[in-house]
Symmetry: C2
Amino acid sequence: MTSGAGTAAPGRALAHPDREQLALERVLHALADPVRLSVVGVLAETGEELPCSAFALPVSKSTCTHHFRVLREAGVIRQVYRGTAKLNALRRADLDARFPGLLDVVLTARRRADGT
Amino acid sequence: MTSGAGTAAPGRALAHPDREQLALERVLHALADPVRLSVVGVLAETGEELPCSAFALPVSKSTCTHHFRVLREAGVIRQVYRGTAKLNALRRADLDARFPGLLDVVLTARRRADGT
């Protein structure tokens, strides 16, 4: 699980499912929440690694942490430590490879529902 | 909610969200379960109205009832009484209109995951 060698913070690596382990039901569950869908939308639009604080979410810090963990454990995002910051990135390539079209369809449906 | 006039069983009509009321998060949640996904897969393949008993589900009758209710309340299926039978049909036209491509992408991903 942790190679550690040469990393800035060995032992702080977080668990992520491999691409082959991604389960459709878990990914759908992770996306089935307006806060998490909003996070995925921002990550998809920016294409960047972002800290939790970059998302203006209407929930407490602990709830926020929970939502990011659900996304990570389902394989929707990757969370990595860079120094003291924990950054979040969308696993678009993995999702597109395992569930072709799913992310785009969901993000498009979300934008339509928002009326944008 | 209930027009009743001319129906065989007035008052037994079940509540369904209108097409415009379908919410992406609720639909994703309804699909985020292997049993419910299996039901949706069978309904999509047959294109027919089927009673709960037509689905060989590895769960108790009450759990089965619960899953069909989740699907109905999210707007994924329509449940209607025909005499004493409660039949289930996929709301494909409504889903395709509100969330274009979503159902097909999910069903395709499910088939790939099953290795079929």
